[in-house]
Subunit: 335 residues, 2 copies
């Protein structure tokens, strides 16, 4: 049990709904998460059951922390998919169709008798990094979430950019190439950033080049497994494979094009890179080479003042940023 | 003389500095400009002399309106070039080198004993359209200013996006093409929006295609004048020239790619197109065809919710938007 002396009240419940798991945490007023965990989404059981299990799990967290519901001021809830933020409504949840058009904000508020702040999961993660993560000292932050897809979050002067139609900060879908050779994005359009730098896209780009006969230790993986992941690229790059290292530099190049458009449009204090598609992050040589490629190419492409002054770095909260950020937005709205 | 009964006090002085002229106006609390005019910039006489003449002209406007300095609450000042908004400092003024590194905000404040709001001219114009122009009913607005170059302004929840390093909203410099064939932008980089849709770029694209032998009534203009302007394109399109009309549609296509990135990043209520490079705007068939091309291509490229709901239209304040918007920002900061 946590000593209550160390908790800065009031506390907030943060919930980060994903397709596979739901992360839930209790976060105090200073942004410290002192009890958290996750449950399976089990989306086929429907959103009402999901909310019931979120509450049940939160009650367990409260009990083990020696807290009760009265000490929770408000709830923050981040979800994927398309939504109507103003109405608190899920619209289309990819692979969770039973949750479509569910008024999740009011339902969760009714079941808990707490005010609920509702937003896009990537904006929640960005707010987490802004509040207590890598962007803690900054007034504005842009976060790219690099995973199976590419998400994004933009925070300016403590405001999350939800957008007029709940489509703000969709950084995976800015165009980096409009030529006839542009790659197709999973959304159907061509030349979007996501089509170059998501884990899926990195794997696809790698496999295409291996198919063309590039010399690499990855050829064995490719012929044995019939697939190559961005993790394989990181591993082989770490072992010194030149082709794998080139894939990493190319990925940095593409990301830098997207970052440049963001800098020329938003001009934030910091760009934060979150998500698992980081070739190992600060911990590995491959990850550090990725970051250096991004920084160097961005410096070459942007206005000098921005090249010199904008921080670009990996996120620090890992997969906790979503529920922490959701709690932070609840604090901002209802604290 | 204007009847004072119709003026909603306090009033604000708005100043829009350009390379050739400085527009100056008195704007009341409701956003109505009731006295305005312009003076030559005569930049070679230096910024101190420029400020002196701005004040002199403003005093004339006040006198003819039967007002005095006491009825002016604050001054709004928009300038081109690069600047340090927080410090109120001009950094680099293209073609106005004597103005570089001049602390214009504090100098103007000292000379008038009024608080001065200072910002980028394109952000000022966007704020004008947001306050009392085409975006009047909207909560968020993005404005492209299409002229010799391409500027931009972004307003979200009444906040102008100045950026952490005074480089926010540089919409001419978002990348729309990163292929080897991308056009070079006047800034030196490649594939920026400005390299496709500024008046200069439209003229260049047109001339290149005429050189390649495109059949068009513009060929005569091209061989007689040795140049073709975007105005020529508009005129010939209006007269039914198919090639000129295709140039207009292509320009709409390129702009739509930039607008799509903006919608996926900012998701504003409205996108407003200002500046003289509009092929005649709502007044001509060529201008309306330009707008329709932009709207149609944007609908094809963006997420369905945005395609259906985001307004795209020409600006309504013309070249008054700069000083009106500057006055509006002064009202917001000091009203």
């Amino acid at each position: 049990m946590v000593s209550l002396d160390h908790i800065s009240f009031p506390a907030y419940l943060g919930v980060d709904v994903g397709g596979t798991t739901i992360k839930i945490g209790i976060v105090d007023n200073s942004g410290r998460s002192f009890a958290h965990g996750k449950i399976d989404t089990d989306h086929e059981r429907g959103p009402e059951d999901g909310v019931r299990r979120i509450i049940e799990f939160a009650e367990g967290l409260l009990a083990e922390s020696g807290l009760n519901w009265e000490q929770i001021r408000a709830i923050g809830l981040g979800t994927p998919g398309t939504m109507d933020v103003k109405q608190g409504m899920l619209l289309h949840m990819p692979n969770m169709s039973g949750w479509d058009h569910f008024p999740i904000r009011s339902y969760l508020a009714d079941q808990t008798d707490k005010p609920v702040a509702f937003l896009n999961d990537a904006n929640a993660a960005a707010y987490g990094e802004y509040w207590v993560g890598r962007g803690q000292e900054c007034d504005s932050l842009v976060m790219f979430t690099l995973g199976t897809g590419v998400g994004g979050g933009i925070i300016i002067h403590d405001i999350t950019l939800d957008g007029a139609h709940s489509h703000g900060s969709e950084l995976g879908h800015i165009t980096i190439d409009s030529s006839a050779d542009a790659r197709q994005c999973p959304c159907g359009q061509f030349g979007h950033l996501e089509a170059y730098v998501s884990a899926t896209s990195v794997a696809k780009r790698t496999q295409e080049q291996l198919d063309e006969g590039e010399e690499s230790s990855l050829q064995t993986t490719w012929s044995e497994q019939g697939m190559v992941s961005s993790l394989d690229v990181a591993t082989h790059a770490e072992q010194g494979d030149e082709f794998a290292n080139r894939i990493i530099r190319e990925t940095g190049h593409y990301l830098a094009i997207g970052i440049t458009s963001v800098l020329h449009m938003i001009d934030p204090d910091i760009v934060v890179l979150g998500g698992a598609m980081n070739f190992g992050g600060h911990q590995t040589r491959a990850g550090r080479a990725f970051l250096e490629a991004i920084r160097q190419r961005t410096r070459e492409l942007t206005f000098p003042v921005l090249a010199e002054n904008t921080i670009i770095d990996f996120a620090t909260l890992g997969s906790d940023s979503g529920f922490i950020g959701a709690a932070g937005v609840a604090r901002k709205q209802f604290g």
